[in-house]
Symmetry: C2
Subunit: 354 residues, 2 copies
């Protein structure tokens, strides 16, 4: 059956997983992470402009499916994302995602993109951006507890943005550590596989915790955290899932993305609801102090926020022309006369019969 | 740059606008509308099972962008839909939409589909399904006030499901009526273009109002509605947008999809918040009476609900194998080892360099 090619208004640029890999390889991981971080930073700097709708979650016994919408008034974006810890046991990703941008003025989508890889990139870029503001000056060594899918992205972002030259890896599963060490072997980072969390944190100015599938776990106990350390806590990101002992939080400066969401999903769900925290955008805009002194323990209690996905989608959209890595998807109906949707169908039938 | 083909878990069936037209033409409009109505009816019959999240709306001066999620516990679905009345003046659709289904158990999408055409189909199928329960027995003539993009779909659904053989068309823009009359000329329906609403409702047992871009308009005044008429009111579907004079509502039996949403978006936003209405699922399941007698005026105050989109996506999914009209979209990352997302990227780079 032959049907005329879709009209120009019907087409939406689509970035597949393959396209996303090609974009990353074309631009280079470190450069991309740095550029992406500057988009995220720019959006944190205009934080107050964003429509900060809470994410819409559908919980089930096995996981959660979420929609994360936001808008800056000109562009609307949302991410679809699932979280199913048992998926890895079935050969699937714990987290998969896709997202889109649309023009607020006419509601037409302008980008549809895979976001499984992009979410790992934006999470890493956000973590390193926060550390640029919060970690002690001259940080060189990062401990990484949890060596799953996010680990190498985090390592590369901290190399690119913060000047980290050494990562010390630990995972309860040695195979995960071997995987991460091998993937990072040609990266220019010194990679030190460790046999315990205690060993991993030795000499580290930054500690990244990114474990999965834990219920109120204590990945990091108080005695492991020395003065001046910056903790990048990205694994505690839903109700009942935390990684840090509350004693660490009680003596630390705590920085969050969006307080109402982090109170529910972050490490601070362990603390009283009035425990003081600082929103990161306030640090970016100079309205709040970041690290107070060289001895302060700082925690970036990151759960991921819709604006970060928005920044990431903005970045991808801006790479379409630069890289040419996308397809045109016939997603929207574009009849000759917008009121003549049915006629479009009839004419397609006539063409098919001809 | 050559990158290995995506793994099987990365692929999501995608139904484009062209595919959707091919599906409709393959199955036939009337048969498709009847089959679709049976899916919608089946989901109304298990109404209580659904997760009925309110739609998430982002309003702007020019329109609205909405996400409409729902779930039956096994399958999750959502629709992205915009509403921008000024779009038609720029050659764009007032409403465009796309949607997806995912498995609740692992969060993986199983279908991505255009929904601009599909929404017109499901709205028409829902309207005709409601009329099957509510319109007077032996209805043959339908007045259609508003002859825009939805008009012909509605006409064909009422022909297929309710035995309507005559439609009487009126629109303030005669070009819209001409368009609809021409599109319906080979349909088997007797088509009567009319010069006014008064003329259109003559002898009609059913009145469908589907106008757009109106602020508290009165498309239908009380004196035009005789005893026993069924009104299918689909144009009043957001705050500030209504079509019926409230006097009609005050003497009618009113049927809605989901009361909390219709109180805000439907015709009944004109009535006190405790005015009695009946949810349509209760009629389908026999828990509430439909039409009481031949003289009753019934109103289906339809605003569109997420379960109807869910039913429509279920129907499309079930046509994939039957029609073969879809593409495979590389939407999800599928690394050999789910924890090795970064390694997938590295290996793609090695293959590209080889």
């Amino acid at each position: 059956m032959t049907i005329a090619a879709p009209g120009p208004l019907s087409l939406v640029p689509f970035v597949s997983v393959e396209h996303m890999m090609e974009i990353v390889l074309d631009i280079g991981v470190e450069r991309l992470l740095s550029e992406l971080a500057s988009y995220i930073e720019a959006d944190f700097a205009r934080w107050e402009l964003f429509d900060k709708t809470p994410r819409v979650a559908a919980h089930s016994a096995e996981g959660v499916i979420e929609l994360m919408p936001t808008s800056d008034g000109e562009t609307y974006g949302f991410k679809y994302v699932n979280g199913h810890p048992k998926n890895t046991r079935e050969g699937r990703q714990t987290v998969t995602a896709f997202g889109m941008l649309a023009k607020v003025s006419d509601g037409y989508p302008v980008l549809l993109s895979e976001m499984t890889i992009l979410t790992a990139l934006r999470t890493a870029a956000t973590s390193a951006l926060a550390a640029k503001y919060l970690a002690p000056a001259g940080s060189r060594v990062m401990a990484m507890i949890g060596n799953g899918a996010q680990c190498e992205f985090q390592a590369m972002a901290f190399k690119a943005l913060c000047g980290i030259d050494t990562v010390r890896l630990y995972d309860i599963d040695p195979a995960a550590t071997r995987k991460a060490a091998q993937n990072l072997s040609g990266s220019g980072l010194t990679v030190v596989p460790c046999g315990s969390s205690e060993e991993a944190v030795l000499g580290a100015q930054i500690i990244t915790t990114c474990t999965a599938d834990k219920q109120f776990a204590t990945i990091l106990t108080d005695n492991l955290v020395g003065a001046g350390v910056h903790i990048n806590a990205i694994g505690g990101d839903c109700p009942g899932k935390t990684e840090l002992h509350s004693d660490i939080l009680l003596r630390a400066g705590i920085f969050v993305e969006y307080t109402p969401q982090t109170r529910i999903e972050g490490e601070i769900q362990q603390l009283p609801p009035d425990h003081p925290v600082t929103e990161f955008w306030q640090v970016v805009t100079g309205r709040a102090e970041g690290r107070r002194d060289a001895a302060e323990v700082t925690v970036f209690d990151s759960v991921g926020f819709a604006t970060e996905d928005f920044s990431a989608l903005r970045y991808v959209r801006d790479q379409l022309l630069r890289t040419g890595k996308y397809a045109q998807l016939d997603l929207l109906a574009d009849p000759d006369d917008p009121r003549d949707l049915y006629g479009m169908l009839l004419r397609a039938g006539l063409r098919a019969a001809a």
